[in-house]
Amino acid sequence: MEIKILGPGCANCHRLEERTQEAVAALGLDVTVEKVTDVAEIASYGIMRTPGLVIDEHVVVAGRVPTTDEIGRLLSEQ
């Protein structure tokens, strides 16, 4: 599984990254969380509001910071 955090470095992007790390740790998954900060690449995912959460190249959340629980659910659904 491949997880990407889309965000140029705003407060919400950092919060999404922290919570994703927490969710990954809670589920005991062995995955890498990659940060995408280049705006052109972020835009190419079709999102217009950061931050975005991408799991295996699918945008699952955009424009808000979900709770750690919700991220956990999204991760286990994939």
């Binding site: 705003c10 972020i42 835009a43 217009m48 509001r49 950061t50 945008v59 959340v61 424009g63 659910r73």
Partner: protein, 349 residues
């Protein structure tokens, strides 16, 4: 499904919690003035006529009042805005022409949830979907310029008149500036890669599938995020107000920065452009300076230049816009703000 069971809180407890919070808010708002009267004039024994007494009273009372207003407004605005999304805005603007499209973009810029850190993805997303550059710029100008939190604060501090003036002026600037940039064929100053960006995957509507609990959580988190960001501005703004209130004679500013001073508005806008804060952060300072006798037009122009034109956003936008467009953008918006400042000073004189 187990996920449903996990997230479902009893409905009554959610609404009871909200109602309790609203009551506590009202109670605090009500006891604010009597509390500071009691503390400063009673316990400390200071006279309301003394510089120190009136100053401390002003600081305490305003800090609590503005703090409460901010908490209430940010929460309500965030919950309401969670029903709107930038994806829906783009769909609405898709087939629009310049002119009507600019007006609509400015209006949607006010109600669409948006932060300037998303300016670039939003710009690319709009242009890639065929929204004209001028219409896109109207949206990007209106979004920080006419801000619901600023609208709420203005209503709470100055009443309906200045609030309506502010909204009308902001929408006019965003509409006219965006239309002007469109007429100047600003698309030649957009970095070519923007037009080549192909959007992959499916568009996610960021407002889709949210429950009331999600929206309430978003509201609470937004209150914390914004207050954490702006508290220094709040303290400085109200502190300046307290000093002015106690020690600066009321005719001091009237002498140097009255509505008749022909350079007043230009100086205010020139000072506002390099400063950067959001509307919530700059409003306490505006209120303090208004109390000191500065004219409303000059102050609104100052506030607009602080929130609408900012160096960090320009640096971000440089990724997609050539320097010519950034310079034109600043010039057009600054001209609009200066014009608004002078007309208000004339109208309200």
């Amino acid at each position: 499904m187990t996920t449903q069971v996990q997230s479902a809180r009893p409905t009554w407890s959610r609404w009871a919690g909200l109602a309790a919070a609203a009551l506590a808010w009202l109670a605090l708002y009500r006891v604010n003035a009597p509390f500071w009267d009691w503390l400063i004039y009673g316990v400390f024994g200071l006279s309301p006529d003394s510089a120190l007494g009136s100053s401390l009273h002003f600081f305490g009372y305003d800090l609590v009042k503005i703090g409460l207003l901010l908490v209430g407004i940010i929460f309500v605005v965030t919950v309401l805005r969670s029903f709107m999304s930038i994806e829906r805005t783009r769909a609405l603007l898709g087939g629009k022409r310049e002119g009507a499209g600019n007006v609509m973009a400015a209006g949607l810029g006010v109600i669409t949830p948006f932060c300037s850190c998303s300016a670039v993805p939003a710009f690319i997303g709009f242009v890639a979907a065929g929204v004209p550059i001028g219409v896109t710029m109207s949206f990007l100008i209106a979004s920080p310029l006419v801000n619901e939190i600023a609208i709420g604060l203005l209503l709470g501090m100055f009443g309906i008149g200045p609030t309506l003036l502010y909204v009308a002026a902001g929408l006019t600037i965003a509409t006219v500036a965006g239309w002007t940039l469109g007429r100047l064929h600003a698309e030649r100053w957009v970095e070519p890669f923007v037009f080549e960006t192909r959007l992959r995957g499916q568009v996610i509507d960021s407002s889709a599938g949210l429950t009331w609990d999600d929206r309430i959580t978003m509201g609470r988190e937004e209150v914390v995020t914004i207050l954490r960001k702006i508290w220094p501005y709040l303290l400085v703004g109200i502190g300046v107000g307290a000093v002015i209130h106690g020690w600066v004679p009321t005719d001091f500013f009237a002498t140097y920065a009255s509505a008749e001073n022909p350079l007043g508005v230009i100086v205010a806008v020139g000072m506002g452009i390099p400063l950067y804060s959001n509307a919530a952060g700059v409003m306490p300072l505006v209120q303090s300076l208004y109390g000191a006798g500065l004219p409303m037009g000059t102050l609104l122009a100052f506030m607009m230049s602080v929130v609408a034109l900012s160096l960090p956003e320009m640096i971000l936008l440089r990724r997609v816009l050539k320097p010519q467009l950034i310079a034109t953008f600043i010039a057009v918006v600054a001209t609009g703000i200066v014009a608004v400042g002078y007309s208000f000073n004339l109208l309200l004189a």
